[in-house]
Symmetry: C2
DNA sequence: CGGGGGGTTGAGATGTCTCAAGGGGTGTGG
DNA sequence: CCACACCCCTTGAGACATCTCAACCCCCCG
């Protein structure tokens, strides 16, 4: 059994990669859980009991750490968006506690994989171990790319990269290679996007408006249509 | 055999955690390699043959990805600094290729752990598997915290957090708990620090100068003395 | 019908970048 | 042994992107 991750997929894309899968567990009848929009799948600091694979719906993960300045608000940021087939909770393995909150952006269903059985399973099945390591490694790369983006790109490029990545992840879950999703419905607010990209929500809004004025995208609230991919990629 | 990572260590610190260890391999006589200052331990795109634990010296890891704008320079950033006892190369597990360059900041020695024997070893020894997972998870957290820092903190806080983290990592490798390292010698240039923190080197230099003027640190080129920890932490 | 959340847009404040100049090391070749 | 080149660092001044504050709109929901 080979890991289901395409080894070239991550290297191929220019924009930061934002998804992680864990499909080898499909065969095992793990229980599922439904989370309503706005509710937390888990919270920061909670003991790590399970990791989760999104079956349907969408989550954001939010990290907080106390401001260096005690009396001011703590730093907080959306560290990722997670769609179907992607795995949540792996950041908690090191401390045994979740390192972020996971909030459902819409009603969602997850498959629950208890950590207690994960490690023994991986010792049993080489392919599963390999895939788990690959997933965690991909998470490292994903986080590093986010840092890279936050450290080096201007607002315009961040938003463009975000949209392209979003579209690409939709592709990955639908139809055959080559037909690209151009109509997106963003499940998150401008504030979420801004937090994720290290921008204020006003900046996100303005940037989207500008991209529309320039003809790169169509925009109607949370509906986004990618009109000119090249313009998004090369600018 | 218990994993040697203190499960609370990472949760305790406020500033982004930046180190990762892998000590269970101590018992195994892995070969070592010396890398001269400025030379690469590995380069981006190279097939992943081994992961490495720093024995002595210091490395930076540098990630690059092509600019969305073809003709302009590609985005590049220092994604981490790695000192003794810390493990390098795990980001490459997902693609089978290294996702960054690792450059020695001074003459350094690493222990080489071939990936081919790592996975079988982990299936054999539960504790080793657990520690490998913990290390990778810690890397995810580390990268996420870096992203958090780049996304939310102003220059002053970034530099302060960088210095505090640096000092803390020195502590971790010396003497008993409680006696804190206050005299640092930075092995990297201002440009490296800036790249890592998402700032220009001039901004780093100005910020350090300002911290000195305010009495928070002593400054003499790459020698930094932490004079007022509180001032660095709470502002 | 009123309230609140989400979104857009404007104008001024501000932090960081950019460009530019100069100083101090260090290594190398004359 | 000196001279030069090169790298690293510092500092200044103006440009510029993003933030901040504020007003307003729309839509949904109670």
């Amino acid at each position: 059994m080979e890991p289901s991750i395409d080894p070239g997929a991550s290297a191929r894309r220019a924009a930061p990669t934002l998804h992680v899968r864990f499909s080898d567990a499909d065969a095992i009848p793990f229980p599922t859980r439904t989370v309503e929009r706005g509710d937390a799948l888990y919270c920061m600091g909670e003991p790590l009991r399970s990791v989760y694979t999104v079956q349907s719906g969408c989550f954001k993960t939010v990290a907080t750490f106390p401001s260096s300045n005690d009396d001011s608000a703590p730093h907080t940021q959306v560290t990722g968006f997670h769609f179907a087939d992607e795995t949540l909770g792996l950041d908690g393995v090191c401390t045994g506690r979740h390192e972020s909150d996971a909030i459902a952006l819409e009603s969602s269903v997850v498959r629950i994989m208890p950590v207690g059985i994960l490690e023994p399973l991986c010792r049993e099945y080489a392919a599963m171990q390999h895939e788990l390591l690959a997933i965690m490694s991909a998470e490292i790369v994903r986080a590093s790319r986010l840092a890279l983006m936050l450290g080096t790109m201007p607002a315009r490029e961040r938003v463009a990269a975000f949209l392209l990545d979003f579209a690409e992840r939709l592709d990955a879950r639908s139809a055959s290679v080559g037909d690209q999703a151009n109509d997106l419905i963003l499940p998150m607010t401008r504030a979420d996007i801004g937090s994720y990209l290290g921008l204020e929500l006003e900046t996100v809004s303005r940037t989207l408006s500008k991209l529309q004025r320039e003809g790169a995208i169509g925009l109607n609230g949370r509906q986004v249509r990618i009109v000119d991919r090249t313009m998004l990629e090369h600018h």
